[in-house]
Symmetry: C2
DNA sequence: CGACCGATTGAAGGTCGTCAAACTACGTGG
DNA sequence: CCACGTAGTTTGACGACCTTCAATCGGTCG
């Protein structure tokens, strides 16, 4: 156990100009002059599965660019149950609400070992005051976030549980951009899709029997995208 | 039928400095100097129930502040069904995605006779380049939109249809801030809550029998907030 | 008046939640 | 090495809830 996850996770300052995923991140189109407005070098941090980047209600003084891994944003309801609001991958921004100076709105929990760049709110604001470049990127991120949220709302409230699970798997496969696909545990799937763990389990078990999904490890599997796509579209065609 | 809704809806330019709801709108904290960056006076427009402000895919060259009335953002799915993504009231911004220069993401349809201020995208961008005041407001609006979307996602995917209808009515009552409450037709309620028109109708009919809701006109009713609150919280207590 | 649209109600069936139990994997300790 | 406990997954049975399909009712408009 580390006495302080965050402190120990700090790495040497990143060099934004040479960043390998620069095209994906918030600072994508900043000029060399723009970087001079940063008060301190941007720091990078690494977190493991289950660790939290921040909690709901924490004072928000930074936002984070996801360099690798997966993060879930979790919100708890008055009855003790929870809902997973979003899942963020490489290039996404975690904690955009920090710009509004109030409080973080969710718990940000690591799903898959992740690394981040920490962007202090003051720097973002200062940069934005002096340069129009960042505004464009911020607009795009906001737009992206809204658009994602709309898709979730549209798809995840539509159709049978089976269709929703199929869609979720396809969505997660997009995020990883490989043949293998991260598969959340059944409880998290329930939290994402608004179904019970049992229902999630039944459907995943059925997919396994139908060879639609094959687990390589507890949270990693290969999926048959064609079959899943068919399931998302129509009714159950039992072959 | 008007040959062109938009043209005829134009009113004389509004005087932003004297706007009665200035504290609510995007230009809330602009200075007198800031307004000099506007290329043309801000125009106001009025639309009636069923008219559209813009359609999904339209080229986005303006965003709109809701001065009065109600607007629904509608998205159609591949199977022909639709989902209502958000409902916007006084002070909300319609078409924020215009800033990202691509296309409107939804159909914006008037639910209740509404008036808007039209804010050209070029003006917004120009203003933002010259003044930091607008950025603060934009951030706040984005934040508000995201926050609303999260609440919808959380609440509307949780619990029985009856609880969801109850919550929706309370939510709509908040929007109007009076004893009377706008009540969408049953099909729209279905589109919002991801239930069928029949289910929506059954629940509203039951609420009417239980004196929880009383219609003043087809789309206007008084509601018993206490009883509705009880319903949103717990299981069905048939009295 | 008759057509039409939306709201309402009924009946039947399917899906999913609830409660419960068995099973697996994993780590601990005897 | 094996017994044991814990946590997550799977499976079963039952019933409530909601969808589907259909018919009826009420109001408006031509």
């Amino acid at each position: 156990m580390k006495p302080n996850q965050i402190d120990n996770a700090w790495q040497a300052a990143s060099k934004c100009e040479q960043c390998a995923i620069r095209h994906l991140v918030l600072f994508a189109n900043l000029t060399k002059d723009d970087f001079d407005y940063l008060h301190q070098p941007i720091k990078e941090l690494h977190l493991n599965v289950g660790e939290t980047l921040y909690n709901q209600g924490d004072e928000p003084n930074a936002l984070y660019t996801v360099r690798s891994g997966l993060v879930k944003l979790v919100s708890y309801l008055s009855d003790g149950s929870f809902r997973i609001i979003r899942i963020l991958k490489q290039g996404d921004i975690v904690g955009l609400e920090a710009l509004d100076n109030k409080a973080y709105l969710h718990h940000a929990v690591i799903l898959k070992t992740a690394s981040f760049c920490r962007l202090p709110v003051e720097d973002i604001k200062s940069l934005n005051t002096h340069s129009p470049h960042l505004f464009t990127q911020l607009t795009a991120r906001w737009q992206q976030t809204m658009s994602d949220a709309d898709i979730w709302l549209t798809i995840l409230t539509k159709g049978f549980a089976k269709q929703r699970v199929a869609y979720l798997l396809l969505h997660l496969a997009e995020k990883t951009e490989t043949e293998s696909c991260y598969v959340p545990n059944r409880e998290d799937m329930g939290g994402i899709l608004a179904i019970t763990t049992e229902t999630a389990s039944r459907i995943i078990a059925e997919f396994k029997r139908d060879r639609i999904i094959s687990f390589l490890s507890p949270h990693l599997a290969t999926i048959d995208k064609k079959k899943l796509l068919v399931i998302t579209h129509g009714k159950n065609h039992d072959a």
